[in-house]
């Protein structure tokens, strides 16, 4: 096989791969995967709880890493769920931290374990400041 044919084959394979990335197994809005968190996660304490600097840092991190999918105002976008939902806002901070760490790899949410623990807790601090929608 010549180099040119190998290149064509690889390009075709790449196109096929991109075609597979249809997001078809992503979760419906509202289903966020928090239910998979272990029971112990609820007891994990946020070391930045109540720290306004951490909330600002979390907002900065949200804009950098999360807003592309969840929207600038965390209202959700496409199949990325809104983060102002009662499910998210009612979840203990430790559950949110667990979910940020592990993500939902089959559902389109990346694992943010690449961010140090401190930054994930800062994100949790910011997420907990978002207002849940008013009760119907």
């Amino acid at each position: 096989m010549s180099c040119r044919r190998a290149l064509m084959a690889l390009l075709l394979a790449t196109c096929a791969t991109l075609g597979l990335a249809d997001g078809g197994d992503e979760p419906e809005s509202g289903a966020v995967g928090l239910e998979r968190a272990p029971a112990t996660a609820a007891s994990w304490a946020n070391p930045f709880a109540g720290d306004p600097r951490a909330i600002r840092a979390g907002h900065k991190l949200f804009q950098r890493h999360c807003a592309e999918c969840h929207g600038d105002n965390a209202l959700g976008r496409g199949k990325a769920p809104p983060l102002i939902s009662r499910r998210v806002q009612g979840a203990p901070g430790g559950e949110l931290f667990w979910f940020l760490t592990n993500g939902d790899l089959g559902g389109g949410m990346p694992a943010w374990s690449r961010l140090p623990d401190a930054r994930r807790w800062q994100l949790v601090s910011f997420l907990k400041t978002l207002s849940p929608p008013a009760a119907p």
């Binding site: 096989m1 180099c3 190998a6 290149l7 690889l10 394979a13 790449t14 791969t17 991109l18 597979l20 990335a21 249809d22 997001g23 992503e26 600097r53 951490a54 600002r56 840092a57 979390g58 900065k60 991190l61 804009q63 950098r64 890493h65 807003a67 592309e68 999918c69 976008r77 496409g78 199949k79 990325a80 760490t101 592990n102 993500g103 939902d104 790899l105 089959g106 559902g107 389109g108 949410m109 990346p110 694992a111 374990s113 690449r114 961010l115 140090p116 623990d117 401190a118 930054r119 800062q122």
Partner: protein, 295 residues
């Protein structure tokens, strides 16, 4: 306006994505070692990675690879590489292509996170990117003039087991490499180890570019382990490379790594650079543009 300069949908999309003010940028700091960090789904990273090398018995060279990395799923990342090199007092040649796929084997974070790496390579012997060292790879392999080495092509399958752990802000990655020339040659083996940490673990509340939270320091070490006819650390080359990565909030990332040979079979000194740009959500935008729901 002539039809040749009328902006089309693709150019508008590229303009819109490249001018995004905020983008994810958390580039893997290593050049050779892989950790369990995957590309975000639907995101495309474009990188250029030049390598300046010196060699005994041959001219200094500039090798480089262009890398396109795409997140197919949260657990599956695919990458396409185009390699080339230019050698002083010799010539500049394209040296081949690579197509790699990485699959996370566990959906949840563990103390040690395994990833399976599969790569197909169609290269010629002029390749000097040193993206891995396996078997009995030595410096003298690169002293062959390009007009001879480029005629010897090889197609190889490379399999790696990537193990990676995060603790207290540190990342430790170990890679075990097995490479098989699809012609009748034995399996060749190699290793890569990496260790990195951001200079600051917490983010500052204010926007910043040149600040500790955006800088990552690390070191990686890699080399050959012999082949199916004889395993071992001898008669091959080994390198150690401190590295610095700078991840900018706008999606750009820069990396630099002075690399030192650890034995007489190794290049004495190599200098690696990396520049990358991440386009978040590109797949989603393309699907939205061409009639999908874009979600």
């Amino acid at each position: 306006m002539s039809r040749y300069c009328r902006p089309n949908r693709l150019s508008l999309l590229l303009l819109a994505t490249l001018t995004s003010l905020e983008a994810e940028a958390q580039e893997r700091p290593f050049f050779v070692t892989y950790n369990h960090q995957m590309e975000e789904p639907d995101s495309l990273e474009i990188a250029v990675n030049p390598l300046l090398g010196t060699q005994r018995g041959g001219g200094a060279f500039l090798a480089s690879w262009i890398e396109l990395e795409y997140g197919v799923k949260g657990w599956w990342t695919t990458e396409f590489y185009l390699d080339g090199q230019a050698t002083r007092n010799d010539s500049a040649v394209l040296t081949g292509i690579r197509w790699e796929n990485r699959f996370r084997l566990e959906r949840l974070e563990h103390r040690i996170n395994p990833v399976l790496y599969l790569e197909f390579e169609s290269l010629n012997e002029a390749d000097k990117t040193l993206l891995e060292v396996v078997g009995h790879d030595v410096e003298a392999d690169h002293a062959v003039p390009n007009d001879q080495s480029r005629r010897a092509s090889k197609r190889e399958l490379e399999v790696k087991l990537l193990l990676s752990s995060n603790f207290k802000g540190f990342n430790l990655a170990e890679n075990f490499i097995a490479e098989k020339n699809l012609a009748n040659t034995p399996w060749e083996f190699g290793y890569a180890l990496g260790f990195s940490r951001p200079l600051a673990l917490a983010a500052s509340p204010d926007p910043c570019s040149l600040c500790a939270e955006n800088l990552v320091l690390g070191v990686e070490m890699y080399g050959g382990l012999g082949d199916g006819r004889g395993l071992g650390l001898r008669d091959t080359s080994h390198y150690i490379a401190p590295l610095l990565a700078w991840n900018l909030p706008n999606g750009m990332a820069f990396r630099v790594s002075p690399t030192f040979g650890l034995n007489g079979n190794s290049h004495r000194f190599l200098l690696r650079f990396g520049v990358s740009y991440e386009i978040p959500g590109l797949g989603r935008r393309l699907r939205r543009m061409w009639g999908g729901d874009g979600a």
